[in-house]
Symmetry: C2
Subunit: 339 residues, 2 copies
């Protein structure tokens, strides 16, 4: 892959994440030669603007990866499982945004600010982490490096676009129905999400936690290479368009002051500290949307545990939680091969 | 106060909580003789339906409590501080929904299911707890009695009506503005609440926690008579009309199984267990609104701590978090004096 410009495929190009991938590639001036936008038959012929040029969406087939250097998959686990092998066979490296391969020991799971070296061990597939995990760990990384984190308790406030473009449409349609005093239509989510919160994302596992919550446990361990760290998560859908927020308490090995945490986070790649409560400054969806960085605020000494810090984190889950991190992995890939 | 029917005053009768107080008095067939609806000059002449009869709102003055047996205050701390002494002087017992007297050692802070005996020590005022604290403790009460709770970590998802009637109007107006592609008007909350979450309720204190969060610490200790229990809270406003939700982890002295917790909660006054994840059953604002009970679900063994249970709690904060609990205190008062 030792070239100056690369042939890129986006699988699921018309989805909420797929669209963000093409715009992030453009915004970060990724050296694209050919961009192939792939989707199911429903989306064939749709046009997406890339670098000022309309690009037509093509049908995803097993033979469509011919000549592709990097294939960014974001069309769900079953599509990844079916088509990633064909992409690899054609010589592409797959960066997969689904959960299909994340727990596979032979597949690196990478946040470029945290474990960039892991991509070297790939055998054709590199997994992009779960959105909430990616945002949380990007913020916690520098604290972890300063003083190992032993325990994390997190409750999330996850936006509807985490469920894709249909999630956005459903929230907006439901709000219109309710305003017009009509019965809201429920299809993407299990229950009405307008004016509601739903403590259920992805399916339930045997221990009573959801798969979404267990991703935060398992992926945190894999990314940090620390199988002793304990994580307990409650993942909740809220009626917000994009940006995932979370209330996080971390218990560290060493004692660490609030000032030190602010200093560490301020010097972290991909993190912006928004923390001045005297001026009512803290992260929220409305000030984090569309931003590449993850945001931390409300940093305070926890009142329950020794050596513990509580904080509030926001991040655009379509960006650092998905498209941005995937493109950053692609950047790492071409940087490693160009050297 | 040894009578069959009582003269009741509601201070702040036209507010979100005040309106609920009159409807709860009616629904629970409280033995009302005269109901006096009191408010500031802005609301004079408004009519509120009580037991099928229109009752006219009167001006709150220091002399208006003549002949009143119980005065239910819900018009904010400064009104309580100014007018409660006049109500007491006129011979009324004050049940105060504001935070004005909650931390006063001489004022009982009561959840009737938990510490009913405390009302006996009142000197004219009984405080009604903070909404989130009341809902959380009503659910946790039976666990605490079975095995003392040592630590509570809670993140809340609080609805806009917690900020009063204006909170509801502001959310609905902002959503209309955004749908019409107009700039939303911000007045009650510090930031846009439509399609947003705000990690800030009440003002900040020196330790970085808000007053709302510190109420959960201080009031939990006072209600449980346990000044060793440790509580850490993150209180967050979400775009929901009514019902406060919370993600709660409790660390208990003894080990306690999920089954035992379900059994304890199922037998608790004021609590309904909605917990069958195989059937996607758990509490949410849409199924808890308008209900007297508090709801618990997603009960599971926590993954981080020994002897710890995580769960999800919902409760209508205008009811158990405010009006219902206040009326229950009034019921206790007349029961005690009638015996």
């Amino acid at each position: 892959m030792n070239k100056k410009r690369y042939n890129i495929a986006i699988v699921g190009a018309t989805g909420a994440v797929g669209r963000k991938i093409s715009s992030v590639l453009s915004e970060r001036r990724f050296p694209v030669n050919i961009l192939k936008l792939l989707a199911s038959s429903n989306s064939i012929g749709k046009k997406i603007l890339f670098n000022g040029k309309e690009t037509v969406v093509e049908l995803l087939t097993k033979d469509c990866f011919e000549g592709i250097d990097i294939a960014l998959f974001s069309a769900g686990g079953s599509i990844s499982k079916e088509f990633a092998p064909h992409a690899i066979k054609s010589g592409a490296v797959v960066i997969d945004n689904s959960s299909a391969f994340r727990n596979d020991d032979s597949v690196p799971l990478v946040i470029p600010e945290i474990n960039p070296a892991d991509i070297k061990f790939h055998r054709g597939i590199i997994s992009n982490p779960n959105c909430t995990t990616a945002i949380m760990l990007t913020v916690l990384n520098s604290i972890y490096k300063y003083s190992r984190i032993e325990k994390i308790i997190v409750s999330s406030y996850q936006s509807v676009s985490g469920a894709g473009q249909n999630g956005i449409v459903e929230l907006e349609d439901q709000i219109k129905c309710i305003n017009d005093r009509k019965e809201p239509i429920i299809s993407k989510f299990l229950y009405q999400i307008a004016y509601n919160v739903i403590p259920h994302i992805d399916s339930f596992t045997e221990n009573g936690f959801t798969k979404e919550e267990m991703k935060m446990v398992d992926e945190t361990r894999k990314i940090l290479h620390d199988y002793k760290i304990r994580v307990s998560a409650t993942c909740v859908r809220v009626p917000v368009i994009s940006v995932h927020s979370m209330s996080v308490t971390v218990i560290t090995e060493k004692n660490i002051s609030v000032e030190k945490v602010r200093e560490l986070l301020s010097n972290s790649d991909g993190v912006t500290v928004l923390d001045d409560v005297a001026k009512n400054i803290y992260p929220m969806p409305i000030n984090s949307e569309g931003k590449f960085d993850c945001f931390a605020g409300r940093i305070r000494q926890d009142l329950v545990f020794k050596n513990a810090i509580s904080m509030w984190i926001c991040g655009d889950q379509l960006l650092k939680g998905a498209a941005l991190n995937a493109v950053q992995i692609a950047e790492l890939l071409i940087k490693n091969t160009n050297r």
